[in-house]
């Protein structure tokens, strides 16, 4: 007999055990440390709008760019079995495209901003296609291939605009980076939701998930089933490009200016970490976007918690590293295997003692 109704959620859920546990522990820790940590207040901001304020809002808001890039990174990881380390530098290029086009007419208008976003997305896709071509066509290790733009991306961003920190002063930009008047929730949070929904629709209406996982697990077999591995890998970089562009626009809008040196700096490492914390195999194959998004929020929550505990900023990274070591080791195959064998032993032990008891 074949049980067909049992859906395979158990297998994929187990991937989320580590990130969910980590998140729960962090939430609990903060609750014990400071019961008021999660308080959300309605405050009036400088422009006279009522907005939600509190640590939770700030965590979710600040993690937006990371969460979006982590989604794209997950796809590249799954398809290519490697990571793109140029996303931070390419984000600076996206930001430069955005600022250049949005500012082109002298004054910002909704039209010029939208055009700016479109050009940023297209431009970023072009740069990501460069990475993708090196990886998918020339079969260069992703980390080496993306090292090129990692090194020179921020210089390219500088060349596009010329001036070091172009400003974007406009209520439109403020609405994009902070809150839209009348809506109390920060706009970047909507951007994350929008990207998640878009990718969700792509997964629903195409075979992207099946193809990506097949290519990531067994490229040769995927090809023999008519899948074009090169195209799938390129596609993963295109999607990452869209994610990077959106994240860059959020980053620029938040500050109202573009600093090509600091925009989303070091985000590549956090994004890779988010993918790993999310329980995704960095060697490619099966993946869950939700895991990576959770990973992004965990990383941000950790930072915010440490700041709330008044840990000096110089020390924050060290403390973060300690917690991350624990999460990553807990999710490692060695620990997973020994835990599952321990669980099995306890179960069989119980059965044995129960059997003895019966006798």
């Amino acid at each position: 007999m074949v049980p067909t109704k049992k859906r395979g959620k158990s297998g994929s859920l187990s991937q989320l055990i580590i990130p969910l546990t980590a998140l729960a522990i962090l939430l609990l820790f903060n609750l014990i440390r400071d019961p008021g940590f999660y308080a959300i207040k309605v405050v009036t901001n400088n422009d006279g709008n009522s907005v939600l304020s509190g640590n939770l809002i700030s965590i979710i808001d600040s993690a937006s760019a990371l969460a979006i890039i982590a989604m794209g990174m997950t796809l590249v990881t799954a398809a290519c079995g490697g990571q793109d380390i140029s996303v931070g530098a390419v984000a600076a290029i996206s930001g430069a495209f955005f600022v250049k086009v949005a500012n082109a007419g002298g004054t910002l208008t909704i039209g010029s901003v939208i055009l700016g976003i479109v050009v940023a997305i297209l431009g970023t896709i072009a740069f990501m296609m460069f990475n993708g071509t090196l990886v998918a066509v020339f079969k260069i290790q992703p980390m080496i291939a993306t090292l090129i733009l990692f090194s020179c991306g921020r210089s390219i961003a500088y060349w596009i605009n010329g001036s070091a920190t172009p400003q974007l002063i406009s209520p439109i930009i403020q609405a994009m980076g902070m809150t839209i008047p009348g809506i109390p929730i920060p706009t970047p949070i909507f951007a994350v939701a929008l990207m998640a929904i878009l990718l969700g629709l792509v997964f629903k209406f195409t075979n992207l998930r099946l193809y990506t996982q097949s290519v990531g697990i067994n490229q040769g077999a995927a090809r023999l089933n008519g899948i074009n591995p090169t195209a799938i890998k390129l596609l993963s970089f295109v999607i990452l490009g869209v994610c990077v562009a959106v994240a860059a626009v959020i980053g620029v809008s938040r500050l109202g200016q573009l600093n090509h040196k600091t925009l989303l700096v070091d985000i590549e490492m956090d994004a890779i970490l988010a993918v790993a914390i999310g329980g995704n195999n960095l060697g490619g194959g099966k993946f869950r976007l939700l895991g990576s998004v959770l990973g992004a929020y965990i990383i941000q929550m950790l930072t915010t918690t440490l700041y709330a505990m008044s840990v000096p900023p110089v020390n924050v990274k060290a403390y973060k590293a300690i917690v991350i070591i624990i999460i990553v080791v807990a999710g490692s195959p060695v620990i997973k295997n020994s835990v599952s064998s321990l669980v099995n032993r306890i179960r069989t032990g119980r059965k044995l003692s129960a059997a003895k008891g019966v006798k």
Partner: protein, 502 residues
Amino acid sequence: MQNDAVLTMRGIDKQFPGTRALNKVDFTLRKGEIHALMGENGAGKSTLIKVLTGVHEKDGGTIWVEGIDGEAHIHSPQEAQNIGIATVYQEITLCPNLSVAENMFIGRTEGQVVHWKDYEKRTTEILKSLGIPARAKQELGSCSLAVQQMVAIARAVDMNCKVLILDEPTSSLDDKEVAMLFSLMRDLKSRGVGIIFVTHFLEQVYEVSDRITVLRNGELVGEFAIEDLPQVELVAKMMGKDLNDLADLEEVGAKHHETGEVIYEAEHLSSSEARPFNFNIHKGEVNGFTGLLGSGRSESVRAIFGADRVTGGKVTVKGRNVKISKPHDAMKAGIGYLPEDRKKDGIIADLSVRENIILAMQVMKGFFHPMSKTQMEAFTDEYIKALSIKTASQDTPVGSLSGGNQQKVILARWLLTHPEYLILDEPTRGIDVGTKLEIQKLVLKLATEENMSITFISSEIEEMLRTCSRLIVMRDRNIVGELKGEQLTQAQVMKTIAGGEQ
């Protein structure tokens, strides 16, 4: 122990979990002889070599090597080398970016200071004496594969090896290079080196060897002088058949003879791996490629499916010219292909049984037309029942199934696409007898009831005779015969495979 023996192995046993790889195998290598070690897949050739070179430790038996008092204990490749056993593998294990001289002496320089000048001089002498066309200072990677192999052999010879193992040395060489290698082998033979020659090219065995040892299923079939063992008998021995018993044994099965139109036809089709060949199959026909391992049968069907880079030829499917350069083209033309290497080319191990079954159909439907989950589940259920696939659920990762059930999953994958022409490369390898019979019956049923054309490849001749109405026989990467009707007997197949004087 014979006096002139350099190597004597007696009663060698080796057990792996679940299989007995070697069962009391004897092997004797004499001074100055070229001794071919023959056997089909899984015969135990490579295990025997690995025991001899210290890669695997034997579970039982004894090894004597000339010049060593008492039993030789070989625990590592290093120890094997020290007592004069050297191996040159199929793939070159030297460093292509170093010079020939550096490769000759790397890892065996004496003292703290290395005198490369001396080594280069000695290398030049060795190369000259063995007639190897290379210079000492030349980068190894710039030499042809044959020369690289000869350098590896020269290195072994210079280390005073008594036993030289050549594992498939000719598989990537052309005819001229093979001749060059053979003259080097004969030269070494005259210097008293014992050479163990592992190959699957029959002609080459007869060209250069003095003696043949045949293994089958981990057991010794026998040791023969080359003149006492005609090629056809060698094939029979490798396949475990006694020719006399078979001569009058006619296979009768529920074979289906082709009647319909030609479904697929290839003219001078060639790929990066397959030499040009002609081939066709009719509607409802079951035919097969047969030949020894490495004869080119798998490479030919891979060319049909576009699995390797197609380099030439004309293909017509149902009378229409089509270009098949990648698997997707073949699938669109109604061709399905179950690959020989299930693990490497077949299953997507981490994906579920369901995803593995619907994969090919899904790809044919296209990227923008995913099937609904209900549809997938219905198809999967249907084929799990039809092929009685044993799995805990549809969501079980296919990698955790048994080999036979994995094979059925891939079979289900292709049956689901309803191909007009299905290629099955070793569909029954490594699976239990019951499943084997099921698959054979299924093949015949598909051909008779659904008029599907099927090309069947198997290492087991009985199985081919039971299912195929026409056999294309291959030897050394060329088609050497085509058998049908009356000719379909084991004896005839083996004669054709062996070729030569018969």
